[in-house]
Symmetry: C2
Subunit: 390 residues, 2 copies
């Protein structure tokens, strides 16, 4: 058996960051920025008022000072003249501060009578002006290799970036195998069950920002598997589900090797999900997940998600684990790293009692995988443990 | 000024949970389940082997016992006969346990010679059988009112749910207003800036599971605003950005009232983002956000996101705030609830030094809004504070 981290490292050797494509800004949210993108202008592009008020010369500001209103500067329409001594320009939030002025008196501290204003306030420390380039200068870059959050999209817009270079979405082909499987909505025979792994994994893959192409279920025959492998086509990663252990009916590895795969077969020291197959078939990276429903989903979180992040250009660093206090004690862990379905409530985490790897009901109730290292000693309630949000 | 919670309550009065629609399971991830959905079958639908091995009668299991292999039960193809005394059936993981058998000996603890096996193990406590219905029974329901995570999708598949009732996606119309705005990629005039709020809000809205329809930028004229309001059409919520304060050029409220809106105008005790307009126009709920870039995004998180969750059927409960230790001290807070752009690193949170509400660069670097209650006393490093992940 090999540790989880070593298995992950070997899987990383099968994939590489993908190339980039250009998308309109309105479609860039959630995508990964493929390179540094620099502003083409200063923001604000001019000294701008941060309040509604009157633009004047700072040197003339004092209580009871009077100014003659000579014009107006509104957002989008500046004042084209110059503010002279004793003069002021009516100004609105976001509008350019006119030449000759370097101070904005807020309108609440002004008495206006016709075209004359009188200052009525006592506190004139704040000029209420945002200097040109206060947010960013032309050439300031948003660094690549990040997933674009709503705040990044707003920033890119403000930088006047109309189209954005993003990493191409990885295309994953999902191949569920087994004579026992039917599609949801079909009528299963007496010995059959409904395919669930491919649907759960598709949701996970798309949530990570990749595309999932679901192939028809392959039957437990060499012909059916060969046809399915052909359908995987030019996917970036082929994910087979089931049929990858050592049982007499587990044909997937055998057929893949017949088709030329350099196969690697790992027994990973983890629960659930021990057996894992990986390799490269006709140039396409391939990973074989266990057919057991919960094992497939946990291996998706532990192995597939990091591979997708690597392809997206987010690097091989894993998202940092989170910590929570144990709501209930846990016994000694065995020799395998255990990913326990668990519930985070407040700052406490509780592992479900029944961790049988066939129970999707327990997975559906869980919002975290509590991680126990191999051989971890018994833990008391209140001790801190690591978890992965799911 | 009214508190944030009261403003949110008034906004909730403008919207209601939307109706439902039916989508294929493969498109249901991330959607909100519109009602309880019950399994149409037991899972597993039969007692199933959890290992590769041999099915026998438990009463006959002991070291050195011998059995004659009379058939095979594979996943999808059960054994149609009955296991008699001294008999066994070769069985694979997931396959139905044949009649007459109630125990599976794992293959690693069996010596096989022709059609006869001999038990070689010492520990026979575990029957290696998953009882029928161990995961769920026919009629077991996944409760509605939840956002469907990948694990839920796997569970629904396994329940044989081919199509899923989900809440209709709220449609939000986004209306940016102001003569100073141009679209990203356009060439701004000397007094203009690039519209960023509508792009950032669109990303946020879509991330929450709603649809955002971006309307053309409205100019600061009554005609332009009337046209824009017409374009909002049958949206579930119209979001105007900018033009909602009390400046001479802030026409939005005036035109909306002319068109029949029952207007409410709030000064909310929060930073950033004090002014907020809300009402109902021709039957459509409307909210007016401040035009200041960071204020618009913060109000999106604080007001728009809860309204969307309510429309999606997720209720009026806010997602629980998270807690982290302060990495650096904070001074006395003023009379308004302060949403500070901040960075979570490990279990510590640090507010950015410059909280000027025009700085999108600071918003883009932030991954949290640190929340300070009105009048909050100075805080030392190491004290625990609330935050909202963004």
């Amino acid at each position: 058996m090999i540790p989880v981290a070593e298995a992950r490292q070997r899987l990383f050797d099968l994939v590489a960051p993908l190339g980039s494509e250009t998308v309109p800004l309105a479609e860039a949210a959630g995508r990964v920025l493929a390179g540094d993108v620099a502003a083409t202008r200063d923001q604000p592009p001019f000294a701008a008022s941060s309040m509604d008020g009157y633009a004047v010369k700072r040197a003339e500001v004092e209580r009871d000072a009077m100014f003659r209103v000579v014009g107006e500067s509104a957002a989008g329409h500046g004042f084209s003249g110059r503010v002279g001594p004793g003069e002021t320009v009516r100004i609105f939030t976001g509008a350019p501060v006119p030449d000759g002025a370097d101070f904005v008196v807020i309108q609440e501290e002004v008495a206006r009578r016709g075209e004359v204003i009188t200052l009525t306030g006592d506190d004139y420390r704040n000029a209420n002006i945002r200097p040109r380039g206060a947010d960013f200068r032309s050439g300031t870059a948003l660094p690549g290799g990040r997933r674009l959050a709503p705040g990044d999209i707003a920033l890119l817009a403000s930088m006047n970036i109309g189209t954005v270079p993003v990493t191409r979405r990885p295309v994953l082909a999902l191949l569920a195998t087994g004579d026992e499987l039917v599609m949801p909505g079909d009528t299963p025979g007496p010995d059959q069950i409904v395919a669930s792994n491919s649907f759960g994994l598709k949701a996970m893959i798309e949530d990570l920002g990749a595309s999932a192409r679901m192939l028809p279920i392959a039957r437990d025959t060499e012909n059916s598997l060969r046809t399915a492998f052909d359908l995987a086509g030019d996917a970036d990663l082929l994910v087979t589900i089931g049929g990858a252990s050592v049982g007499d009916h587990d044909l997937v590895g055998r057929v893949a090797v017949d088709l030329g795969m350099e196969q690697a077969f790992y027994k990973v020291a983890m629960r659930p999900g021990k057996p894992l197959m990986a390799g490269r078939l006709r140039g396409t990276a391939m990973i074989g997940l266990p057919g057991n429903p919960v094992s497939a989903m946990v291996c998706g979180h532990v192995f597939l998600a990091p591979m997708i992040r690597l392809m997206l250009g987010l690097g091989a660093d894993l998202p940092p684990l989170r910590q929570a206090r144990l709501a209930a004690p846990l016994g000694q862990n065995g020799p395998r790293e255990h990913y326990m379905r668990a519930l985070i409530e407040g700052d406490a985490v509780r592992a479900f009692d029944n961790q049988d790897s066939s129970l999707l009901t327990v997975l559906s109730q869980a919002n975290a995988l509590l991680i126990r290292p191999p051989g971890d000693a018994p833990r008391d309630a209140g001790e801190t443990v690591d978890y992965l949000p799911i």
